[in-house]
């Protein structure tokens, strides 16, 4: 059973290589960013650095990491984990590509 709502945010070409963009909608009150690496992999994270909420979508992307523009914390795009020696996690959200378009999955809470 899929526990995500999938949102279509448009063609892959809208995101520059080694680039990122913030989305018009957020998740649980937080902004979302999608990232595209040099190897053409896509990721989505809550667009707030675990340090002081810096906009990760503005950071420099290298390999599978992004460097926060405010104080240079390095965040792994796949897990959202902050690289040592700093600690923390920027929540990651699942993405999938269908027909050249990118979808971001927002987790749904199950109503018991």
């Amino acid at each position: 059973m899929d526990t995500h709502i999938w949102k279509n945010i448009g063609p892959l070409s809208e995101i520059p290589v080694r680039g990122a963009r913030r989305l018009c909608f957020g998740h649980e009150g937080k902004p979302i960013a999608v990232f595209r690496t040099g190897a053409d992999t896509f990721f989505a994270l809550i667009d707030e650095c675990p340090h002081k909420a810096g906009p990760l979508s503005e950071g420099i992307i290298a390999g599978n990491t992004v460097t926060c523009p405010l104080h240079n914390w390095v965040i792994e795009l796949d897990s959202g984990n902050v690289a040592a020696p700093d600690e923390g996690n920027a929540r990651s959200l699942p993405v999938r590509v269908e027909g050249g378009e990118l979808f971001v999955g927002l987790p749904v809470r199950e109503l018991a």
Partner: protein, 818 residues
């Protein structure tokens, strides 16, 4: 009522400071969590922080966040119950409880008193007034920073380590600072008279006014401090008075509950007080008649105390010889042990060079080194300290010892440089952070660290004042077995290649892409990192003008979106105002933009132009379009490029002006705007030597004189203020323009990325710059020509491009398609 007995003993710690929490950390390392549950009371409303670094916070080199040692999460993760902002007011030893100011009472099995010390205050009137504070905790620093923001004059009472660091910090924050000291010389307990005089001379040159042999009689004022009255009649006006005359162990609680106290809380070698269930560590204790005021011995106490608590019955504390350093950038002082010969049997050897501001003294007793005072060059300090601690017989080295290790040991079989193998594990390497050899080596081994920056990140060693960087590098080489000869620093951790090497290869091998560079030098990461990418991008741009296509993805956000990111994610916008000149039409346009886009702040900058702060990213292109429409372009206030050209009114209006400084400034700005440089570049042109445009602290400053123009280079405001070096004097504006272009280009071609002209000239020497620009007219013309050529590709307004749709994706969010 608790129905289930908790199997763990309860350890209660009074004092959430450096000693107490270091003891807890040591205890956790020994699996103390299996034996104790821990409650910590702290009188301050903060988590524990590095008190030592308050000096750096005051001086603006660090923020409070930087100096936090353990975060709230750390306490939570380790199951420690932290109660902040609540001082313990009573210890009841018969029923083994402590009670806090808020009325909380908890029972303990073991108690640790780590209450530190209290600042001493002289017995004079006026102490309680606003505007008077000590220098001990965050609250004091807040008071001092507040005063520095709104007021001008500070007086520091006390010329010891703390007083000097307070004075320097306040000076750095822009106050005018006087320092009153009771004794004839500064830091008299750590320095002998010659070293103290050099110190005073250097600080005097940096603008601190000294009142030695000054006994404070009263702090005057009615509702707020107004000045300091000295006994000899001198009066010093002050808005802020900082007391730093010393500290007294904080023994109140211990005394009240009947523990044995003297000057401090008396402890035995196992860090127990007269009650075996109560331990004590830190500045509040007295051990074998000594009290403590530096962290090095306190770290040892914490180790012993934790070992004892964990059940190790062999751990014993023994005080070691200590050294002192002063944390004032550019002032190197070291002192350990005896300052002077005690009698004729002692041998005192000094080496002194007043011009270089260098002084060294060693004291030898019975063939052993017992003291050392160093000023100016302190690189041998830790070696001397080790000789003292090890009580090494130095009779053989006597004649050479004062010249330092390299010289003393040359000729003997011993290699130069510190002997890391022989060095004890607890040898302190980093004094600021109290990091020992053992800690560094363990971190290197356990975490497979291979670079200095990694060691810094994980251990904090050499991360503060940096004086021990060489030692840390040495240890890294020693531990990993990789001998690093004194190597040129690499661009970043992705490579071992240095800046110059890469720049040379770009030209020699015609490397035209980042990939080609990374391949040639065998980069570790195919994509590089946030440090090397902007550097390589710049080097390529500089080497291949018109050819290399700038990679926006390798630019820091400010340079990518052409505005400065602010802490809340909004941006600031600063349009150019050529030479500081503006017009009513431009001001109208700025005003309407600010109103139309509801921009919260409009500010006149320190660079003679106007800043619009708090612009939403989405609004940027429209804001720029409106500014463009009124003829304004980007001021590149975000760029590693030409920022401002400050000017004064000059001969057009000013009664002293000798040349048209405003006009020349505008010409220079029109020639140089839009260029990319290794770091930001600022110019200024003053119309006469009164220098109202502050040309002598700019990357390039022009001071007009009757006979022409003095060209000055390499100045810097900012953190380490550097006054320009004179380059040459020329007669015409055209010559100024040629020198400016040539200077820009030689800096662009040869400095390292993120190196401003000041450190660059410090590195290569002003004589080198003169050789390239003044002595070599042909070379100068060629440099200028290369600059103008590259400018032909650089001078298009990035704002206009973006207002017209370039990089539109940067400024719009992605929608949801339905």
């Amino acid at each position: 009522m608790n129905m289930i007995a908790n199997p763990l003993e309860h350890l209660v710690v009074i004092g959430n400071g450096m000693a107490g929490m270091r003891t807890v950390e040591e205890l956790l390392k020994r699996d103390g969590a299996a034996k104790y549950r821990i409650t910590v009371f702290g009188a301050e409303p903060h988590v524990n922080y590095n008190r030592i670094m308050l000096s750096s916070v005051l001086a603006g080199d660090k923020t409070i966040d930087d100096i936090v040692i353990n975060t709230h999460e750390w306490y939570a993760e380790n199951g420690i119950n932290l109660i902040t902002g609540d001082a313990v007011t009573d210890i009841n030893r018969s029923i083994r409880t402590v009670t806090s100011a808020s009325g909380l009472t908890v029972q303990y099995d073991k108690l640790l008193i780590a209450t530190g010390s209290k600042p001493l205050a002289p017995p004079i009137p006026g102490l309680g007034m606003p505007g008077v504070c000590a220098f001990r905790d965050i609250a004091d620093v807040d008071k001092m920073l507040d005063a520095a923001r709104t007021q001008k004059r500070a007086v520091v009472i006390g010329g010891g380590l703390l007083g000097l660091e307070a004075a320097w910090g306040l000076k750095q924050r822009g106050m005018s600072v006087a320092l009153v000291h009771l004794m004839p010389t500064l830091m008299e307990r750590q320095l002998d008279a010659p070293a103290a005089q050099l110190l005073q001379r250097d600080l005097d040159r940096r603008g601190i006014a000294f009142f030695t042999e000054g006994q404070t009689e009263e702090i005057t004022g009615t509702t707020h401090a107004e000045g300091v009255q000295l006994a000899d009649g001198r009066f010093i006006p002050a808005d802020l008075v900082v007391l730093a005359i010393g500290i007294r162990p904080n023994i109140d609680l211990a005394k009240a509950c009947g523990l044995e106290v003297n000057r401090g809380i008396v402890v035995t070698d196992d860090m127990r007080t007269s009650d075996p269930d109560i331990f004590s560590v830190g500045e509040c204790v007295e051990h074998r008649g000594s009290v403590f005021g530096l962290v090095a011995p306190i770290w040892d106490q914490a180790k012993v105390c934790a070992a004892r608590m964990a059940g190790d019955i062999n751990a014993l504390f023994a005080a070691q010889a200590l050294s002192t350093m002063l944390k004032i950038t550019g002032v190197d002082v070291f002192s350990a042990g005896a300052l002077t010969a005690a009698d004729e049997a002692d041998d005192e050897i000094t080496l002194r060079d007043d011009n270089r501001g260098m002084y060294k003294k060693i004291v030898i007793r019975d063939g052993k080194l017992v003291g050392s005072v160093l000023y100016g060059d302190v690189s041998d300090g830790q070696w001397y300290l080790q000789l003292m601690r090890d009580k090494t017989d130095v009779s053989e080295l006597r004649d050479r010892l004062v010249f330092g290790r390299a010289f003393a040991e040359a000729g003997s079989a011993v290699s130069t440089g510190p002997d890391f193998a022989a060095m004890a594990d607890d040898t302190q390497i980093c004094g600021c952070n109290g990091i020992s050899k053992g800690t560094i080596c363990c971190a290197i081994k356990d975490k497979d660290l291979t670079t200095l920056s990694e060691v810094r990140a994980h251990t904090k060693a050499s991360a503060s004042c940096g004086q021990c960087t060489g030692l840390v590098e040495g240890l890294l080489a020693f531990t990993t077995g990789v001998t690093t000869e004194k190597k040129i620093p690499a661009i970043c951790d992705c490579t071992t290649a240095g800046h110059d090497e890469v720049r040379a290869a770009i030209l020699a091998q015609s490397l035209k892409t980042m990939d080609a560079i990374r391949e040639t030098f065998g980069w570790k990461k195919p994509d590089g990192c946030h440090k090397c990418r902007p550097a390589l991008n710049y080097y390529l741009l500089c080497a291949w003008p018109g050819e290399y296509v700038d990679d926006s993805r390798s630019r820091f956000v400010n340079e990518r979106v052409h505005a400065n990111i602010q802490k809340d994610g909004t941006y600031s916008v600063i349009p150019r105002m050529w030479g500081g000149m503006t017009t009513p039409a431009e001001l109208h346009a700025i005003a309407s933009v600010a109103e139309k886009f509801q921009i919260p702040s409009v500010k006149v900058t320190g660079g003679q132009r106007i800043d619009l702060l708090g612009v939403k990213k989405e609004d940027l292109p429209a804001v720029w379009a409106d500014l463009n429409a009124a003829g304004m372009v980007s001021g590149h206030a975000y760029a590693k490029g030409l920022r401002t050209v400050k000017t004064c009114v000059g001969s057009e209006w000013c009664r002293f002006g000798t040349q048209d400084s405003t006009g020349l400034g505008i010409k220079l700005e029109k020639m140089c705007w839009g260029s990319w440089t290794p770091h930001k570049v600022k110019f200024a042109v003053s119309g006469c030597p009164r220098n109202c445009a502050e040309a002598t602290i700019k990357d390039m400053g022009i001071v007009c004189v009757e006979a022409g123009y003095d060209i000055l280079v390499g100045g810097n405001g900012g953190i380490d203020v550097r006054v320009t070096d004179p380059l040459t004097r020329v007669a015409t504006e055209d010559e100024v323009m040629e020198y400016a272009g040539a200077f820009m280009q030689v800096y662009r071609e040869e400095a390292h990325y993120l190196e401003r002209t000041a450190p660059w000239i410090d590195r290569v020497g002003i004589d080198y710059v003169k050789k390239r620009l003044v002595d070599d007219a042909e070379g100068r013309a060629a440099l200028n020509a290369r600059f103008l050529y590259s400018q032909s590709f650089a001078q298009s307004d990035p704002w206009a491009e973006r207002a017209n749709g370039t990089d539109a994706h940067e400024f719009a969010r992605m929608p949801e398609l339905v």
